[in-house]
Symmetry: C2
Subunit: 269 residues, 2 copies
């Protein structure tokens, strides 16, 4: 299921438009079946998350990255929509405020990492600080490299202090983005999702793909692996992400906290 | 539906155990029907909340208060379980940390109020600062009164700057709490929810009811009304709360932001 590992191992160009489409393993599946399976997985995730919350031991951090319209919001809604808001938090990182800019770039990120028992989704993240900054030349190549090292050290620390990290790159093709942007422009109900800035960023498509490829290669670590998700099909995207999240939660061997035998003797007056 | 207003108008003792049970309007209803209706309302709330999020104009703050086991966690899960985590945040206020204690008692509360487009649920709140503190005599009667005034001024400010506030007191009887605590003690899977401190607080049941009654009367304002929810029946509790939240969201006349006519002319390259 770890498609990025597969790409990295095969040593070929990581991000190609042709890999954003439907993958072989689901090409013969039917959409309705995929949706049903995703619904099941989403309910499973909600179940696991209740135990995660009760146990207050593990922390789960999910990072969503991708070009505009790649489906980050939709993933949050569909994959985590069934979860209990008490233990699930979605954090959306926009352009930094002046107070945030007055600190190092990991400052605002660190404040939002999951506490014990929490599942936190980052909708964009510290990766923007090696993506948009690099594409627009706001930081030097040396600074980009230093930041990869900071990020790896930061994620290692989080991992070694009990956080499980999953990073997803929602991979869409340039043509698919065109369709989705046109959809937003055509439908007045979707105008609020459109930002003229999206077109400026789209003009740097190739630079972004290069920046993503470099960042993913430099920060794909054992403790914080990247998963490259073919995301032209929303249905398939949700299914793959839900599967990886559910598998990861299953692998934590979550369990309710140990009972307190002395409690059985207590009488309530 | 505003049961507290009804109680307050009738000028009788606000909180009586007998009022925690099933109310007349639902006594002839069947549990399955109530659950179905709640599910519908919960889906409706999720729909409204998506528009709230898109519009980024209104802010909705929901305060849940009640004795231990009164069902605050269950309310969050059932009523808001279908909502998109991107726009819904649940904040649980525990005993304050030393940093929080070094500030005024509204400091940590203010940090968590909803931003434009957000629906935030407070699981316990600043009301603890006029409840547990009063019951244990940590603050004087004068201080309690000053705090009612602070709280009313704070909530007025929130309201006048665009926040809609709904406050729910989940009203259970002392007998019902006994059953629920016994259930937690009997079931090893529920031991994690039990805190021996709950029994200490239970011993002050009458003082808590008095403290709640005084606090509710002093802070039931037009801009931030209390709703006293009979909560011995979980099914009825969820239905009433979901109804009030859905009605409130409907009354906001939410709509998607205005379209930008100039967007129709944009061509995506």
């Amino acid at each position: 299921m770890n498609i990025s590992a597969q790409f990295l191992a095969s040593n070929k160009t990581l991000l190609q438009d042709k890999d954003a489409g439907l993958h072989a393993f689901s090409s013969d599946s039917n959409k309705t079946l995929m949706k049903e399976k995703t619904l099941e997985l989403s309910a499973q995730i909600a179940e696991f998350q209740n135990i995660l919350y009760a146990q207050q031991k593990h922390k789960l951090l999910i990072v969503l990255q991708g070009m505009d319209t790649s489906g980050k919001d939709g993933t949050v809604r569909v994959v985590f929509g069934a979860s209990n808001p008490a233990g699930v938090r979605s954090v959306s990182f926009k352009a930094p405020s002046s107070v945030e800019l007055a600190h190092d770039y990991l400052w605002r990120i660190h404040q939002q990492v999951p506490a014990a028992g929490e599942l936190v989704i980052f909708n964009r993240s510290h990766y923007e600080d090696v993506l948009i900054t690099r594409v627009h030349g706001w930081i030097t190549t040396e600074e980009v490299k230093r930041r990869y090292a900071h990020i790896n050290a930061f994620e290692r620390m989080l991992s070694e202090t009990g956080t499980t990290i999953l990073k997803f790159f929602l991979h869409i093709s340039k043509d698919e983005q065109k369709e989705r942007l046109e959809e937003r422009l055509k439908d007045p109900h979707k105008h609020w999702k459109f930002d003229p800035q999206d077109l400026t960023e789209r003009a740097s498509w190739k630079d972004y793909q290069d920046a993503y490829q470099a960042a993913i290669s430099a920060t794909h670590t054992e403790q914080a692996p990247w998963h490259i998700i073919p995301a032209n099909s929303k249905t398939q995207r949700n299914l793959i992400i839900a599967s990886i999240v559910a598998e990861t939660l299953a692998s934590l061997n979550l369990s309710y906290p140990d009972p307190h035998p002395e409690y059985f003797k207590i009488k309530v007056e």
